[in-house]
């Protein structure tokens, strides 16, 4: 996750007060992070997911009480919107892999896009939160609004299942 830059609190307060130039500058600041979250989850629909996530962020901005919590708050919205957007777009493209590859699996480094395209959007979100954002199962479960056991089962027996599918 990102370190809040100096002056962030003032920028958030101005944007919450309806200053649209502040909204534009805040958009500039958080868009790269939202793109990095939406890309791996929504893949080809990443641009739509980014736009929808940013719209939700700025519609709800007045609900953010602590500007220092901005990036965690944005992350929760972006991941949910990306999963929603990808699910909507992916109804005709069923996932092939039932599990998420284990940490450090060399195939992740070799062709992560191929791995991602074979997972469901929710599984991609679990993988992204674990490997890129460093969240544990409990935090990931809270972010995705599912039971911790669900995340655990998505991550378990990963290597075997992943390897089988990869080698086919």
């Amino acid at each position: 996750m990102q370190e809040p830059p100096p002056g962030l609190a003032e920028l958030v307060r101005s944007a919450q007060g309806g200053d649209q130039l502040a909204v534009g500058r805040l958009l500039d600041l958080i868009t790269p992070y939202v793109r990095r979250l939406c890309g791996p989850i929504a893949l080809d629909d990443g641009a739509d997911a980014t736009q929808e996530a940013l719209i939700v962020v700025f519609r709800k901005l007045r609900q953010l009480q602590d500007p220092a919590a901005l990036y965690g708050w944005v992350r929760a919205i972006a991941v949910r919107e990306a999963v929603r957007c990808a699910n909507r777009a992916a109804r005709s493209r069923p996932a092939e892999l039932g599990e998420v590859p284990a940490p450090g699996d060399p195939q992740l480094a070799a062709d992560i896009r191929d791995v991602l395209s074979r997972l469901s959007p929710a599984h991609r979100a679990v993988l992204l939160m674990r490997d890129l954002e460093g969240l544990d199962e409990r935090q990931t479960a809270a972010l995705l609004a599912v039971a911790p056991g669900t995340v655990k089962s998505r991550l378990s027996r990963a290597r075997l299942s992943f390897r089988k599918a990869w080698q086919q």
């Binding site: 309806g18 200053d19 649209q20 130039l21 909204v23 534009g24 500058r25 958009l27 500039d28 868009t31 939202v34 793109r35 990095r36 939406c38 890309g39 791996p40 929504a42 893949l43 990443g46 641009a47 997911a49 980014t50 736009q51 940013l54 719209i55 700025f58 519609r59 901005l61 450090g104 060399p106 992740l108 480094a109 992560i112 896009r113 991602l116 992204l128 490997d131 890129l132």
Partner: protein, 170 residues
């Protein structure tokens, strides 16, 4: 020989552009904002050179703008975001000081009551997607939506005509 470390995965990053960013502003600005977009038959550099020449060209394509006076010259080229102020007078009652953020492919401006913006991105080597936003910043502005028509009605068509006109002159 040592083992090379496992390379880090190159996670895909979602595309995004200024036109999409202007849609986010239009969808979330308080008051009432309308956005329109079109694809112009000219490369991005040509389109943006015309659009960012605010003092000269805004009165030629934005219906209610008569004069634009910047507090200092707008930079040309590819500088990151520059903040400017402008005094804008209209043909009707518009008479206001605007704060402006200007960057390649991006311009957002607001006065106390009015919000305006334009955004552009290359569509192909020879075409450019161009968006224009006009809005009113006060509560209840949605009730005045018809009042926005002169601001958003045909500026895109006027901008396209101006672009064509200036291309013909070259």
């Amino acid at each position: 020989m040592t083992d090379s470390p496992t390379p880090m995965p190159q996670w895909p990053v979602a595309d995004f552009d200024p036109v999409r960013r202007l849609h986010v502003i239009a969808a979330t600005a308080p008051g009432a904002a309308r956005i329109g977009e079109t694809v112009l038959g000219a490369p991005f550099e040509r389109v943006w050179a015309l659009a960012q020449d605010l003092e000269r060209t805004m009165p030629l394509w934005i219906p209610d703008v008569r004069t634009v006076r910047l507090d200092r010259p707008a930079p040309s080229g590819s500088l990151p975001t520059t903040s400017l102020r402008a005094r804008i007078h209209g043909h009707t009652r518009l008479r206001a000081t605007f704060g402006i953020d200007l960057a390649p492919g991006w311009c957002l401006m607001q006065s106390r009551l009015v919000l305006g913006g334009m955004a552009a991105r290359p569509e192909t080597d020879r075409t450019t997607r161009f968006a224009f936003l006009g809005g009113l910043r006060f509560p209840g502005a949605r009730l005045l939506a018809p009042a926005l028509r002169p601001f958003t009605g045909d500026p895109l068509a006027r901008f396209a005509a101006l672009l064509e006109e200036e291309q013909d002159e070259e």
